[in-house]
Structures are given as structure tokens and as C-alpha cells.
């Protein structure tokens, strides 16, 4: 489904502030895989996402989707088949448009947009049905501007919008990090339900180890632009936070403060505020 072959990305190459963000990533996702990604700040997780979606072009390496090479395909063309939820709840929706208008944009992502009406009666009924599944009462606020929603509501809407057309690939980059613990748990639960129901191939970045272990069928750990550990379906079943930390400590003599800090208060969403 998704294949990354030896992908490299360097920022400010040749300058004093050179940063190697991706140093040879090989990763393959089979259809239906749900892979969680963990790693310290600056490990290259967001860069990996940006290279997959085409926000950034890799310096070397290839990206394949559904058997076609997409390395040089512009972002807007790739995103017809890639759903994304960002860390910032404001980023995934258009605030000045209404809920139904936002959903209509999501609905037409894989179609040719025309001069036909964006929100039709039929579509509105469909949107209402899908919104009702979120249990937030948004189905009664179709014509409310999205800017008037709370962060949690906006993130739930972003998730619905990202998955509305059953994209070939769903990318989640710390999408619960900006929410309070209760909202974060809700969105995480929602994510699992939606991904499972539609069998979406998913790549999810999180700083919450508990979540990384609980969700998905595979787990990869990144550090300094590399995948330093990977756990397949069988291995992941017996994985614990302690084991994960041990692996991490093996990789680095001293584990990142961030990981340690985030590992211990178990419970749902943690206020990770990674720099995008």
C-alpha cells in the first residue's frame, strides 16, 4: 500500500545549522495496517509525515502508493487519497466556513470539483448521519461556523473529514496532543472506532506510549531520523511500556526526558506539545 525506500531529508544542508531529519527510512505498510510511531522530539516523525504527503520533497529515496511512485507528485494531487489530521485543532478545518461546507470540501476531495452546489440536500442528510456517530450533537449545528466550535469538537470534525471518503492512507500527527485528557481519550477512542470500521491503513504519531501500545497492530520507534525499532503484530501483543523503555534505553544511553516523563502518568492523552 505505502512503501518508503531509503528516504532522506536534510534541512539547511551545508550550513552550520544543518539538520538531518530523515536518514534512510525504509517502511512498508500493508493494506489495513495501523502503525503507531513514537520517538523523541526532533526524531523526524513530522518530517516523515510531510514527505509522505508531499508537503516536503525528499532529498533522496522513493515513495510508492498503491503500486505507483508518487515521490514527485504535488501535495494536492496526493491528498485525494491521503487523509490527515494535524496536531493543531485549528489546522484541519476552515474556520469561516460552516460545518456542512467543511464536510462538503472533504466529501469532494477525491472527485473533480465543479460549479455544482457544494451542499445539496442529499449530502446534508449524509453529513448529518455521519456527524451523529460522533455523539457530540454536531449534527444539529450544520450551519454553524466551524470557528465557533471548541478545540475538541474541531478535532473530532477534522477526524471525520479526514476519513469521510475512506482514503487509502490516514496520517495522524499527535492529533490528540493539544486536547485535555478527557477530550484526548475521546478522540483516541473515536480514531480507533473509525479506523477499525473502515479498515483504513493508518500511520499515527504519538508521544503517549500507552496509546501507542494500545492502538494499532504495529509500532515503530524513531530516533535521529531513523527507524530504530519495529514491532510487528505478534511482538506488539506482548509489548509493555517497560519493555519499550528498555529498548529505547538500549538505543540511547540516556532516554529522552520527554519519553520518560510521558511514560509514567498512564491514562489517556498527555499534553505533549511537540514543535511542528
Amino acid at each position: 500500500m505505502l512503501q518508503l525506500k531509503n528516504v532522506h531529508k536534510v534541512f539547511n544542508e551545508g550550513q552550520p545549522d544543518e539538520r538531518v531529519a530523515l536518514a534512510g527510512i525504509d517502511l512498508e505498510l500493508k493494506s489495513g495496517d495501523f502503525v503507531t510511531v513514537i520517538g523523541s522530539n526532533g526524531a523526524g516523525k513530522s518530517t516523515l509525515m510531510n514527505v509522505i504527503t508531499g508537503v516536503l520533497a525528499p532529498d533522496a529515496g522513493e515513495i510508492w502508493m498503491d503500486g505507483k511512485e508518487v515521490t514527485r507528485l504535488p501535495e494536492f494531487k496526493r491528498s485525494a487519497r491521503i487523509g490527515r489530521v494535524f496536531q493543531d485543532p485549528m489546522a484541519g478545518t476552515a474556520a469561516s466556513l460552516t460545518i456542512e461546507e467543511n464536510l462538503s470540501i472533504a466529501f469532494t476531495r477525491n472527485k473533480t470539483r465543479t460549479l455544482a452546489r457544494g451542499v445539496t440536500k442529499k449530502r446534508r442528510a449524509f453529513f448529518r448521519e455521519r456527524l451523529a456517530e460522533l455523539n457530540l450533537g454536531l449534527e444539529n449545528r450544520l450551519t454553524a461556523k466551524v470557528g465557533s466550535l471548541s478545540g475538541g469538537e474541531r478535532q473530532a470534525l477534522s477526524l471525520l473529514m479526514a476519513t469521510l471518503t475512506y482514503p487509502s492512507l490516514l496520517l495522524l500527527d499527535e492529533h490528540t496532543a493539544a486536547l485535555d485528557p478527557a477530550r484526548a481519550a475521546l478522540i483516541a477512542e473515536m480514531t480507533e472506532r473509525i479506523v477499525r470500521a473502515s479498515r483504513l491503513t493508518t500511520l499515527m504519531v504519538t508521544h503517549n506510549m500507552q496509546q501507542a501500545i494500545a492502538l494499532g497492530n504495529r509500532l515503530v520507534m524513531m530516533d535521529a531520523g531513523r527507524i530504530v525499532a519495529a514491532f510487528d503484530e505478534e511482538e506488539k501483543k506482548t509489548l509493555t511500556i517497560e519493555k519499550l523503555l528498555a529498548v529505547f534505553q538500549q538505543m540511547r544511553s540516556a532516554a529522552s526526558d520527554r519519553l520518560l516523563l510521558n511514560a509514567f502518568p498512564p491514562g489517556a492523552g498527555l499534553p505533549g506539545q511537540g514543535g511542528e
Binding site: S79, A80, A94, E101, I105, T108, R113, G118
Partner: protein
């Protein structure tokens, strides 16, 4: 008095089309587009040059509109493909258009249209033939305003119809699938691209459309005023902005249809205010731009000040009972 208000109404309705264009670029696309000063003249010059050659005024107006569309597209290209700052793209295009407009006007700084067959003469004829003038003037006389009858009602009524048609076209477009992603592009480019929208192309299209309306307004205004002049666009962007800001402040922005109506209202009110101000003995015609600037500043500052006042008063009201309680507590503590 009546005649000058009537004139202000007519020109306000013509400028409203330009203001709708400015609304598209400034508000919908969130793009501060300064092309307007140039594309207004492009529309006027193209139409005037074609009319003096004896071409049909409707065709001439349409060509002026198209020329404005192309100019706007170039501004969009500079910004999206050339990666030039939005303001600078507009300024560059505005400067370039000065020369292009002179070419279009065949090196004449001014093209008079008096005595030519224009859209305005057609509208006036229409009103005369259909008896519109006669019946409306009779009505005016009946209410005692008979001493200063307008030349024709045709321009006012037909222009109002045209402006409303353009407004509805705009409203409709912004609700289509393409219109929705265009709005999203102005709101949140990252989101827009992540939903497979070609934001570059949409920006170019939006700026083209915005400047098409501006040029249409210019083409009509040239025929209304009886000339096209190379300098007639100077400060037009501020007039457009003034209309948008005044309209939004007075009539609200709840929905798109409401906002575009507000913009038209803003354009008309702006025109009337300026006309009335210029009737004051003290002001000279040259003060027009200063008056415009002051009006825009007022429209920007006053609504905010009013909001602040209201907010302060609200807080005070909330504070008052709490203060009373505190004072009581202090007194009790003292005794």
C-alpha cells in the same frame, strides 16, 4: 440637493460592482490586492477605446471585463508561481498596467465618450421608450419633489438590476464546490491543500474574478462619466475597501448573501457621504481623497471603540455586586 444625491446613488451602484471585486480578493481570498487601481482603468480604457471605434457598447464592456480578469490572473501568477509577496504582486501589476492601459487607450491619456452610443444612452433610451421615466417622474411630482427631476431613471434602475445580478452570481459561485474550496483557500491554505485543492490555481482564479468585477465597474463608470482617463483608478482600492468596511460594519456579515448586500450598501453610503461632505463650503474637490481616508479610518476604529465601551460597561456591571460584597466583608471584619 436631490440631483446630487441621485447622482451619488447612481455612481454608488456602479462602484458597488468594484467593491464586490474587492470583497472577493480582500475578504474571501484574504489577499490585499492592489491591482485594482490599474484594472479599473483597464476596464474603462478597453471599453472606451472600443466604443470610439464604433463597436457595440455591450461587447466593449464585456471585453473590458475580460481584460480585467486577465490582469487579475497575472497578479495571481506573480504571487503563486513567482512566490512574490501578495502586496508587491499587486503593486507590480498596478504599475505594469499603467503602461498597458496607455497602449490600450492608444497613447491618449483621456478618451472622451460624449455623444457616443454607450450603455448609458441605451439605458436612458430604454427608460424613455418604456415610459419608465414618465411614470416615475409623475410619482415624484405627486409627492412634491417636482422641481428637480432626474435626467433619466434608466441608469439607476438598470444598474441596480445589473449590480444585483452580479451579487447573486457571486453568492452562487461561492456556494459551488469550486467556490467552497476557493473560500477555504483564503481561510486555511494548508487545510485546503490537504483536501486536494489546487490552491495556486484557485488563488489565480479568485484574483481574476475579483479584477473582472473591478474592470466591469470601470468600463461602466467610463460610460457613465463620459470619458476614460489614465488616472481615474488612483485610490480606487481605498474606495473599494471603504465600501466593504462600511457595509460590513453597518449591515453585518452573518451569511455570504448578507455580506455582499452589505458591501453594495457600503458603496452607496460611501458615495452619499462623500457627496454630502463635498457640499460643505469648506471642502474643495481636491479634499476627496483625504475625506475617503478619514471615512475608512472611522469605519475601522468606531465599531471597535463601540464594542470596547460595551464590553467595559458589561464588566463593570458584573464587578459592581462583587465590590459591594467585598466592602461588606471588610466592614464586618473591621467591627
Amino acid at each position: 440637493m436631490f440631483a446630487s444625491i441621485f447622482g451619488a446613488l447612481e455612481s454608488g451602484i456602479i462602484f458597488a460592482i468594484m467593491a464586490l471585486g474587492v470583497y472577493l480578493s480582500f475578504r474571501v481570498l484574504d489577499f490585499p490586492d492592489l491591482t485594482v487601481d490599474g484594472s479599473f482603468v483597464t476596464g474603462a480604457g478597453t471599453a472606451a477605446a472600443m466604443i470610439t471605434r464604433g463597436l457595440d457598447p455591450i461587447l466593449a464592456t464585456a471585453c473590458g471585463t475580460l481584460a480585467g480578469f486577465i490582469a487579475g490572473c497575472f497578479t495571481g501568477l506573480l504571487h503563486t508561481k513567482g512566490k512574490i509577496h501578495a502586496l508587491l504582486s499587486g503593486i507590480l501589476m498596478m504599475i505594469a498596467l499603467w503602461s498597458i492601459n496607455l497602449r490600450i487607450m492608444e497613447d491618449a491619456a483621456n478618451i472622451p465618450l460624449l455623444g457616443k452610443h454607450t450603455l448609458m444612452t441605451e439605458m436612458a433610451d430604454f427608460a424613455k421608450i418604456t415610459g419608465l421615466d414618465a411614470s416615475l417622474n409623475a410619482a415624484l411630482k405627486a409627492v412634491g419633489l417636482g422641481e428637480s427631476l432626474p435626467r433619466t431613471w434608466g441608469i439607476l434602475i438598470l444598474m441596480l438590476a445589473l449590480t444585483l445580478i452580479i451579487k447573486m452570481l457571486n453568492d452562487w459561485f461561492l456556494q459551488t464546490e469550486i467556490g467552497l474550496v476557493l473560500r477555504a483557500t483564503g481561510d486555511n491554505k494548508r487545510m485546503s491543500r490537504s483536501f486536494s485543492a489546487n490552491t495556486d490555481r484557485l488563488t489565480i482564479l479568485g484574483l481574476g474574478l475579483a479584477n473582472a468585477w473591478v474592470a466591469l465597474s470601470g468600463a461602466i463608470y467610463a460610460q457613465y462619466g463620459g470619458f476614460a482617463d489614465i488616472g481615474m483608478g488612483v485610490g480606487m482600492i481605498i474606495v473599494g475597501l471603504a465600501s466593504v468596511i462600511i457595509g460590513e460594519a453597518l449591515f453585518g456579515t452573518k451569511t455570504i448573501a448578507r455580506t455582499t448586500l452589505a458591501v453594495i450598501g457600503g458603496a452607496i453610503i460611501y458615495r452619499i457621504v462623500v457627496t454630502l461632505a463635498l457640499r460643505i463650503e469648506f471642502f474643495k474637490p481636491g479634499d476627496l481623497k483625504l475625506i475617503t481616508a478619514v471615512i475608512v479610518v472611522l469605519a475601522l476604529v468606531v465599531p471597535k471603540a463601540v464594542d470596547n465601551r460595551r464590553e467595559k460597561r458589561r464588566r463593570k456591571r458584573r464587578q459592581a455586586p462583587a465590590d459591594d460584597r467585598n466592602r461588606e466583608a471588610e466592614q464586618r471584619a473591621a467591627t
